[in-house]
């Protein structure tokens, strides 16, 4: 069964040491025991509030951080320090901020060409240029843009450059870390459509990290919800939206403002009390219990594991 997954993440842990006092450091558990798998051609959405560790998951998969524990298996091969060089030909990343993720001193041609240089994917200069122009066309940039610098472009166009760069090595899998959050509403749709087109055309899989639930629902096949470093619910995108099980997912979905006045008036918001606890001082047991209205003693004693509720709908909650 394992062969049919493109990417498998098993018990991924990412702790960052934080100094408290002169000699003492304690671990900040940014990602704590996260497991999921992505099939070829599938888009998995990863949602959660800021500080829940969703970006860290993406970066740990790409080995931008050295994980504290756990395994990432890409295309049947374990990702580690040695194999990552080669495996990055198969997986790439698009970053949140199109303003700081492009080198201001490089031309568009060099930015998109750099992955080609690194992985030596061309025979001669003419082939390199041809590939770059092909990629630019793919993401909707003109050939005359090739000799320009990043600052000459708008946010949406810059994000296209970042996507072209990620596509340069012909990857099977792309981690998209909040790729549309920094864009204007009218431009967001252009970029979302492009992601969907590329998926149809090239058959790539995405890990789509974002906090905008409506966008994630639109683009994803399945969605995972994270809270304080743990996945609390993972299910088919429609299933999750129509029948959310975990109390956190429930309140998260009810908090999303719906652009529809009549529905908005009818909607019952489940407003969560208080703030997210500090990840340095996590509650015992279930991380959500301090804000959960169903919390019992069991929740404080032991952390619930993800269990199958049928149809591939996994929930980590004692009460549901």
């Amino acid at each position: 069964m394992t062969e049919k997954y493109l990417l498998e993440v098993k018990n991924l842990k990412q702790y960052f040491p934080v100094r408290v006092g002169t000699f003492k450091t304690i671990p900040l558990k940014a990602v704590d025991d996260v497991s999921f798998a992505i099939k070829p051609g599938e888009t998995l959405g990863l949602v959660g509030e800021s500080g829940c560790g969703k970006t860290t998951v993406g970066r740990s998969i790409m080995r931008l951080y050295e994980p504290t524990g756990g395994q990432v298996i890409f295309d049947g091969e374990e990702v580690n320090k040695k194999s990552i060089q080669k495996l990055r030909q198969g997986m790439q990343m698009v970053f949140q901020d199109p303003y700081s993720s492009l080198n201001p001193r490089m031309t568009v041609e060099d930015i998109i060409g750099e992955p080609l240089d690194v992985h030596k994917l061309y025979e001669n200069k003419a082939e390199r240029r041809e590939k770059i122009l092909g990629l630019m066309e793919l993401v909707g940039l003109n050939a005359e843009h090739a000799s320009r610098y990043a600052h000459e472009f708008s946010g949406g166009q810059r994000q296209r450059i970042g996507i072209a760069r990620a596509l340069a090595v012909n990857p099977k899998f792309i981690v998209c870390d909040e790729p549309v959050s920094a864009l204007d509403v009218s431009i967001q749709a252009q970029v979302v459509n492009m992601f969907e087109d590329l998926k149809d055309k090239l058959g790539v899989s995405y890990l789509f990290i974002a906090h905008d639930l409506l966008v994630v629902h639109h683009i994803s096949d399945r969605i995972a919800v994270m809270y304080l470093g743990k996945i609390v619910e993972i299910a088919d995108a429609d299933d999750l939206n129509n029948d959310p099980q975990h109390p956190y997912t429930l309140s998260l979905l009810s908090a999303v403002p719906i652009p529809d006045p009549i529905k908005a008036r009818q909607k019952q918001r489940i407003v969560l009390e208080g703030d997210v606890p500090s990840p340095l001082n996590m509650p015992t047991g279930c991380p959500f219990r301090t804000r959960c209205r169903y919390a019992t003693e069991q929740c404080a004693a032991e952390c619930p594991q993800l269990t199958d509720r049928g149809n591939g709908h996994f929930v980590a909650c004692w009460n549901k």
């Binding site: 906090h211 639930l213 966008v215 403002p257 719906i258 652009p259 908005a264």
Partner: protein, 333 residues
């Protein structure tokens, strides 16, 4: 006779830059009724924030109100002296900003900053001012307010800081609260808390709110009336239901089509082509014309007049004129 607390008439705001004069706001007019929530929606560069700052007269040094009137209860505040404005801000009209991280002073305590507003605008001093500060914090749902007044902004979370900002804005019970993207920097669950709080306070205190945002979801949940802005102009205005269910400007239509909602989850989004307008190089006719699918010859050269769609709805789009002429022609036949 409707009771307007604020009337903005043909407001023009300009900024002098090295690259020429930027006309950020270009003839904006609207009326704000007492106790109503008005939403101003638009993308970056549409002039929505500058409109709000012009009302408060807190524009950057190179900006000024070129022409137009802002009437507060019938008085033109653009003619006010700086001293008059100082007492207008806070007492009559308050503003909360997008970023609660940078709009509080990091070297003063929460209590200190709240009391500053209270002592400036009321005759409460010393212990009375502190008591009022604590009362306000309690009103906006800050837990342990007596402890919080002694704390510094960095000790509070983003949601808590935005609550402090709201407490500060409402400390002198203004008639108008301007909220400039009040929840953009916050997480959805915290956003829901703040929106709920603003609705509650609005019912309790009865002030009018101007909600400036790019988030159509927030607008749909909060506002009675909506103004859609593009390129420094109002392109459509009306009640929330009219704007969402009967949009009559091509930009509004495009905007509504381009956001994922409940109805189009399985369909492809229809984006608005092109990029947002360059304010230094404004087109002669309709500002949206270069990105508009339905643009006609007249759109290039002539600015569309605002047309009455029905009593709750106005739009500035040549398409409506065309539609009316065709209907009129058909009726004549």
């Amino acid at each position: 006779m409707t009771d307007y607390v604020l009337q903005v008439k043909d407001l023009h705001t300009e900024f002098t830059t090295d690259n020429g004069t930027v006309k950020a706001v270009n003839g904006v007019s609207f009326n704000l009724e007492k106790g109503k929530v008005l939403g101003i929606v638009g993308e970056s560069g549409s002039g929505k924030s500058v409109t709000a700052y012009s009302i408060m007269q807190i524009l950057a040094g190179n900006g000024n109100i070129a022409s137009g009137e802002v009437l507060f209860k019938g008085e033109d505040i653009t003619k006010f002296s700086e001293a008059q404005m100082a007492s207008f801000r806070g007492r009559c009209c308050s503003i909360i900003f997008q970023d609660p991280m940078t709009s509080l002073n990091p070297v003063y305590t929460i209590g200190n900053q709240l009391e500053e507003a209270i002592t400036l605008h009321t005759d409460k001093r010393g212990k009375d001012a502190t008591a009022r500060a604590i009362e306000m914090l309690e009103l906006v749902g800050v837990n342990e307010p007596t402890k919080r007044v002694k704390q510094y902004p960095h000790e509070l979370s983003g949601g808590m800081r935005q609550r402090v900002m709201i407490a500060m804005a409402l400390a002198c019970e203004p008639d108008i609260l301007i909220a400039d993207e009040p929840t953009t920097a916050l997480d959805v669950t915290i956003q829901a808390q703040i929106l709920e709080l603003m609705q509650d306070l609005q019912k309790k205190l009865g002030m009018a709110i101007i909600m400036v945002t790019h988030d159509l979801g927030v607008i749909a949940e909060m506002c009675d009336e909506i103004i859609v802005m593009y390129g420094g102009r109002v392109c459509e205005r009306g009640t929330a239901d009219e704007i969402f269910y009967n949009p009559c400007h091509e930009y509004t239509k495009g905007l509504l089509r381009s956001i994922p909602g409940v109805h189009n989850m399985k369909e492809r989004l229809i984006p608005i082509a092109g990029t947002p307008i360059n304010v230094l190089n404004m087109p002669k006719g309709c500002a949206f014309c270069p990105r508009c699918d339905a643009a006609m010859k007249v759109c290039l050269t002539e600015m569309p007049e605002e047309l009455l769609i029905n009593e709750n709805h106005k739009a500035s789009c040549w398409q409506n004129v065309k539609k009316m002429m065709m209907e009129g022609g058909a009726a004549n036949d």
